[in-house]
């Protein structure tokens, strides 16, 4: 009986410790561009926004631009995808202070793509992959995603 209690206590302690450690939940892969564009069949403008700078000002700027596009055209008339790579991946970190804005834009149909190469590079430095916002979708390489979006008719902008 005592052993059983000890096991429960040890299990509870381990669970508690695990609670303080980062829980790494892999985000799903992004849809191919050909499939993603079908989400907005009535779009009159398609815009890919590049974020490769980690500064707070640049992150806020990209979100503001996405928001302005939605306000200007309407959510159904514009297809916006934010592609984050390099230091810009900070935008899609799980606890980013701009998380509410990302969530709000995602609910308007804005897609957020996270560069797989950057995630791998950061994982080597951190010892584990960075935790990402639930709205983030993984693409193999951010720059390749931008090329593919451009080929599909997207205006590529780096605010």
């Amino acid at each position: 009986m005592i052993r059983f209690r000890q096991k429960i206590v040890i299990t509870a302690l381990l669970l508690g410790l695990m609670g303080t450690a980062p829980s790494v939940m892999a985000n799903p892969a992004a849809e191919p561009v050909s499939q993603a564009v079908q989400d907005k069949p009535f779009a009159v403008a398609r815009v890919a926004l590049q974020i490769s700078d980690g500064s707070g000002e640049k992150q806020q700027l990209v979100l503001n631009v996405a928001n302005n596009l939605i306000k200007f055209y309407g959510a159904d008339k514009v297809d916006v995808e934010v592609v984050a790579f390099g230091a810009g991946l900070r935008l899609l970190f799980k606890d980013n202070a701009l998380g509410d804005q990302i969530q709000s834009l995602a609910s308007e149909g804005v897609r957020f793509s996270a560069c797989g190469n950057t995630i791998d590079a950061m994982a080597k430095k951190l010892g584990h992959p960075p935790e990402l916002a639930p709205e983030a979708r993984i693409v193999p390489a951010g720059i390749v995603r931008l090329v593919e979006l451009n080929k599909a008719g997207f205006f590529v902008s780096r605010p």
């Binding site: 631009v65 970190f93 605010p159």
Partner: protein, 434 residues
Amino acid sequence: MKNKISTLPLAVSRKIVLAGLCGGMLAAAPNAFSANWLMLQGTEKPGIAPPVKLWGFIQPTYQKDFSSAYNGKYVPPKLIGPNLDTQSSFNIMRARIGVRGAPFSLDDKINYFVLTEFGDNAMTDGGRYGSYRPVVTDASVTLNYIKGARVRLGLFKYPGAEEGLAGLAGLNYINYTDVTNQMLLERFPDAGDKNIPPQSTPDANMNAFSKPATGFRDVGVQVFDAFDVGKWEHTYAVMLGNGSGVQLSDGNASKDVYLYWSSAYLFDKKNKGPMSPSVKMFSWYQSGKRTNAYNTTQEQDRKRYGAGVTYLKKPYRVTAEYMWGKGMIYQGANNPQTMFNDYKANGGYIEGGWFIPNTKWELDLRYDRYQRNVDLPTQTRFSTWTAGVQYHFTPKTRVTLDYAARHYSSDAVAQNNQLQDVGGRLALQVTAVF
């Protein structure tokens, strides 16, 4: 390969450029911080904090005191501090420069905050016995690894009364209230600091303290966090500190204990800047021991506690706070040897501001009262009405003009003689933040 940009209709391209320009203008707006001073000063915004952010502020100030001498002699309340050698003076009240940020961008759960003071005030200028010397006012590291229990270590503002804890945006008057100045802004006498009786002008160099005042700071460790519950934000802090202010040495083995709780109702959760519309209720408690500078075998309890409320919803602001103290009650700059005592004191203030709609003007009015040595023959009372006007050139630059009408009295005849002629004080200050 032909660039796809050229395939977009011209009107669409224009709209995209327009959206980008608007976005740029929005991004240039100042970042908003929560008016929660513990979080504002102790943490950085995750995901967006820079590794190094250089910042600071300067406050050139002019003050003119209209008090009359008693028998041709002056006491500190009739003179301009920290030097106390004149009744009118230009001064640089604060000139601070520092850096803060999150040094490792991939894991920004570690934050730091360093600030230095080059202005001329009670922290940097010991007056007669000391000399001007810049001080490090803040040097802290915050570890944000445990949800609900952030840990801040080093030198920083301790959790306490609103007037002492508030950042620059919360300081709407040039001088502190008497209760904050006398009961909370702790001075540390040195055994060499001697009593100086009232002096004749212009040679009244009466600042007897050779050690820096606390600046509402301490060296120690603080556990704290804030929690959102609907439109409410609850904040707690528990801290252990040396009880020695910005001095980087401890006066004794005892540690000061600081407790803090606040609950704020946010009218607009998306606006969490210093001007965030909210109602905040708060209470705090501090307890520690001090060693008698003139007889180091003696120790004295020092307790302070208080509660208050702030309201801000433009165009109105109201703040009210009341606090009590026991032990180590300040007896004035000319009485360093009587600082070690077991007396009681209490006081508070109520103040309000009106932001004149569609202008850059703000009108302020404050009443504060303080009584020290309660229930003793030396009981002394301080009450002040302060009327102020502020003009905000920009959110980061303002000019403030205050006039304080002071009424001081004491049950002790000798003290009352010196205090009864304490009169008005005019103060003009420019605040520039960078």
